[in-house]
């Protein structure tokens, strides 16, 4: 029953958000910036019309929206497109993630000469937030090879981010334990964790995807397709939260298997029916993201945060460029892909919460200090990346000529 007033507040927010999105668009920014600003104003930082407690109750909306985003990404990636993008895509994903990791770790080490801390910040750098990029693509109805490449990169790099985080967090834990001369847990076993997570996410996503596409092909009447899609995505999300798997990878695989086991026309039909509701989901997602933002965390950015941001941007852009050059991708992918993947939000904050928990189990003062620093810094940098990321993605798509012209007129 406590939900009831929340429903009304949410309803008003959606309607006002539509218009704040329009204002943002008039200023040449993606609408989601408007949704986020409204959320910030109504959220805990400013007016407190939406309380921490109701935000926790509404967490499921964020999860569902992210599930749909990942599913959409997967459904865009049929093997033919991927083959056309070529090995360039794989190289780009490897290079941007690794470069972000190494550059951030290196820069933070130069600044603090604290190796475990540097490893942890490096580990968080590759994580990206696909929702911002996908929202921009859909809002401007972008089309073309850069768009396809962006879908592939923001989707799959979550997998690599999980692995890099797992490895370097394990290494950092080992270093910290050695410091406090404690018997350390086997490195191997802690490295297996992320690999297991990745394997299970891909496996469960694939299995669900096969079931889904087999059922969807035979489903009549077609008006029930959205129900089936919604059911499977909620199922996948629920399993991920329950088993601690990657929500993004699992749902991506459901969409991916669908796109590659059904004729293009019928998979288009399935995804097309979702399209009506994507704007609503994006409004809710970014409004809630804004309401979550804790502006008072911004001053905590500090020198460390600035170094992290600069090194991460340099790593992602430099790495994407390097990967594209090595894979001989098109010029526009070489030039602009890196700009399109800067968003960072929920996943990174989630990982930093995990770091704090892991490190509080170690218990040494050094570990506790790192845990606290990571949380405050990443919370602050995420505010910036969440705003800059989509703006840069729009800029990149515009420059690459993948946004149809008539779209700008229809403000």
């Amino acid at each position: 029953m406590t939900d009831i007033p929340v429903i009304a507040v949410l309803g008003i927010s959606i309607i006002v958000a539509i218009y704040s999105g329009k204002i943002a668009r008039k200023a040449g920014l993606p609408s989601l910036i408007g949704y986020m600003i409204l959320g910030t104003i109504m959220g805990t930082s400013v007016l407190s019309l939406i309380t921490e407690n109701s935000l926790n109750h509404l967490q499921f909306i964020t999860d569902i929206a992210l599930g749909f985003v990942a599913f959409t990404i997967g459904s865009e990636l049929n093997l033919r497109t991927l083959r056309k993008l070529g090995k360039g895509i794989v190289l780009i994903i490897l290079a941007e993630s690794l470069a972000a990791f190494f550059l951030v770790a290196f820069a933070v080490y130069l600044l603090t000469s604290d190796l475990p801390m540097a490893l942890i910040f490096g580990a968080l750098a590759p994580a990206s937030a696909p929702a911002g990029t996908v929202a921009v693509i859909q809002e401007y109805k972008a089309r073309g090879t850069l768009t396809k490449a962006l879908y592939a990169v923001v989707g799959f790099d979550d997998g690599l981010a999980v692995i890099i985080f797992g490895f370097s967090a394990a290494l950092a834990v080992k270093l910290l334990r050695a410091e406090s001369s404690e018997a350390s847990v086997g490195l191997i076993s802690s490295i297996m964790e992320p690999i297991k997570e990745l394997g299970f996410s891909l496996g469960i996503g694939t299995i669900l995807g096969f079931f889904f596409s087999a059922l969807a092909r035979k489903l009549r009447p077609l008006s029930e397709l959205p129900a089936l899609t919604f059911g499977f995505i909620s199922l996948a999300i629920g399993l991920c939260i329950w088993l601690n798997l990657s929500l993004i990878l699992t749902n991506l695989m459901v969409g991916f298997v669908l796109a590659n086991t059904t004729p293009i026309r019928s998979s288009r039909k399935i995804v097309g029916q979702l399209r009506d509701y994507m704007p609503l989901l994006f409004i809710l997602f970014f409004f809630l993201a804004g309401a979550h933002l804790n502006i008072s965390a911004l001053p905590a950015l500090g020198l460390l945060g600035i170094v992290y941001m600069i090194a991460r941007v340099a790593g992602l852009m430099g790495g994407a460029w390097l990967g594209a050059v090595m894979g001989k991708s098109e010029t526009k992918i070489r030039k602009y892909l890196g700009l399109g993947i800067l968003s960072q939000a929920g996943v990174a904050i989630g990982l930093s919460l995990m770091v704090r928990q892991m490190f509080s189990e170690i218990g040494s003062p050094h570990a506790l200090e790192i845990g606290a620093t990571v949380i405050t810094t990443i919370t602050a940098t995420s505010i910036i990346f969440e705003i800059i990321g989509p703006i840069c993605a729009k800029f990149a798509l515009t420059r690459a000529g993948e946004i149809p012209k008539q779209n700008d007129l229809r403000v």
Binding site: I18, G238, I283
Partner: protein
């Protein structure tokens, strides 16, 4: 966090499995929603307990939103053009079917128990109907025609009449009970008891109209169609949230929004608004009836007792004869005369809500008689609703078929 995890997983299971139990049930000629309800009952608190009651309560906002959408889509069907074609018979039908249900149930229960306040309470609960079942059947079967239109109108508007009648009959029951126990108590005002439901209806209609006008004003100026579903959802959320918070009729509020929208926008606009709702409705119906099923407490069925049986018989007779009487006097067409009444029997959430009000108000009254009546109303209505919730939609489908308003090609 624990709450989140199981909930989404369970919602996913409910929707994807519900879809197929619905299909199985459809194969034997019943409406899908019976399948959703059966799955809900199996997984719910009565049988397997996979869906704990706590989760069901946590998801009650889904039921509210679904009902809001149902009421909104009822409103969207009621263009003045349609209503004027249906003529004054609709008004008469609504008044007669509601009044007859009230009168017959009161008489029947009085004949059985000789307890007038008790009979009035049961009578006051009889007119309430549950529109979701009727609408779900109409949409699933893609029914079209005069009877369909009349069902939309009656299912929507009779909520208002039911609230008024409930208010009056309750007031009468209270007066009787109070005079029974040492005359009038100073805290009771007859005008207040009758005035409150009227007030509730008027505020609901006004709120709905205001929101509807805001919506039409906004939607006419919305350049891109992409945002229409978001706008619709936002408005229904506001209507639903405000109705729940200020104890208004969720159905009347959202129905008036739809009613204003359809009558205040250019002709094509209605379809632009209701089009995107179509893929959403099956999801909402599955969740709505799944949760309704999970709510069902089968252990209540034996408590139905003779009062319950009399209530069921008298209410059905009242609705059917009342609708027929109204249709005959109003000169409605043959299909409506014969089939409207049996299509209207669903009763669920609203009636249970009203019986809880009875329980609450009677608990604070002097004398044990009032408390017993309150308790008996809650348990009996909970049990009879199980019956009406299952039989209602089945009959609706049957009458639509009989009236020839279900296109032949919509087989599963």
């Amino acid at each position: 966090m624990d709450f989140q995890l199981t909930t989404l997983l369970l919602v996913g299971i409910a929707v994807s499995f519900g879809l197929y139990t619905g299909k199985a049930v459809r194969r034997i000629g019943l409406p899908s929603l019976i399948g959703y309800m059966i799955l809900g009952t199996l997984m719910g608190a009565s049988v397997l307990k996979i869906f704990p009651m706590e989760t069901v309560h946590g998801l009650s906002f889904i039921t509210d939103i679904a009902l809001g959408f149902v009421a909104f889509s009822i409103g969207l069907e009621l263009s003045l053009h349609t209503l004027s074609k249906l003529g004054k018979s609709i008004g008469l039908i609504i008044i007669f079917e509601s009044l007859m249900a009230l009168i017959l149930v009161t008489a029947g229960v009085f004949a059985l128990t000789g307890d007038l306040p008790l009979s009035l309470v049961f009578g006051s609960l009889a007119p309430a109907t549950a529109p979701a079942g009727t609408i779900a059947v109409i949409q699933e079967c893609k029914a079209k025609g005069n009877l369909t239109k009349a069902l939309y109108a009656v299912a929507g508007f009779d909520d208002g009449v039911a609230i008024v009648l409930f208010g009056f009959a309750m007031a009468a029951a209270k007066v009787l009970l109070l005079s029974e126990s040492s005359g009038f108590s100073p805290g009771f005002s007859l005008a207040g008891t009758i005035g409150k439901p009227l007030f509730e209806i008027i505020i609901s209609l006004v709120l709905g109209c205001v929101l509807g006008l805001v919506f039409t004003w906004l939607i006419k100026r919305l350049r891109s169609r992409d945002e229409i579903p978001a706008l619709t959802f936002g408005l229904i959320a506001i209507g639903t949230g405000l109705a729940a918070q200020f104890h208004l009729s969720l159905i009347l509020v959202n129905m008036s929004i739809g009613f204003i929208v359809i009558n205040k926008t250019p002709i094509g606009m209605g379809r632009t608004i209701s089009g995107p709702l179509r893929p959403l409705m099956p999801i909402l119906f599955i969740l709505f009836f799944f949760l309704a099923g999970a709510h069902l407490d089968l252990s209540l069925l034996p408590q139905i007792g003779t009062i319950g049986v009399v209530y069921i018989l008298a209410r059905s007779a009242g609705k059917i004869t009342g609708a027929r009487l109204g249709a005959v006097i109003g000169g409605a067409d043959q299909n409506i005369k014969n089939y409207l009444g049996p299509g209207l029997l669903s009763q669920a959430g609203v009636a249970i809500g009203l019986s809880l009000i009875v329980f609450q108000e009677f608990q604070d009254m002097p004398g044990t008689h009032a408390v017993t009546i309150g308790r008996s109303a809650v348990t009996t209505i909970a049990a009879t609703c199980i019956f009406f919730e299952i039989v209602g939609p089945i009959l609706t489908k049957y009458v639509l078929k009989k009236a020839g308003e279900i296109p032949v090609d919509t087989k599963p």
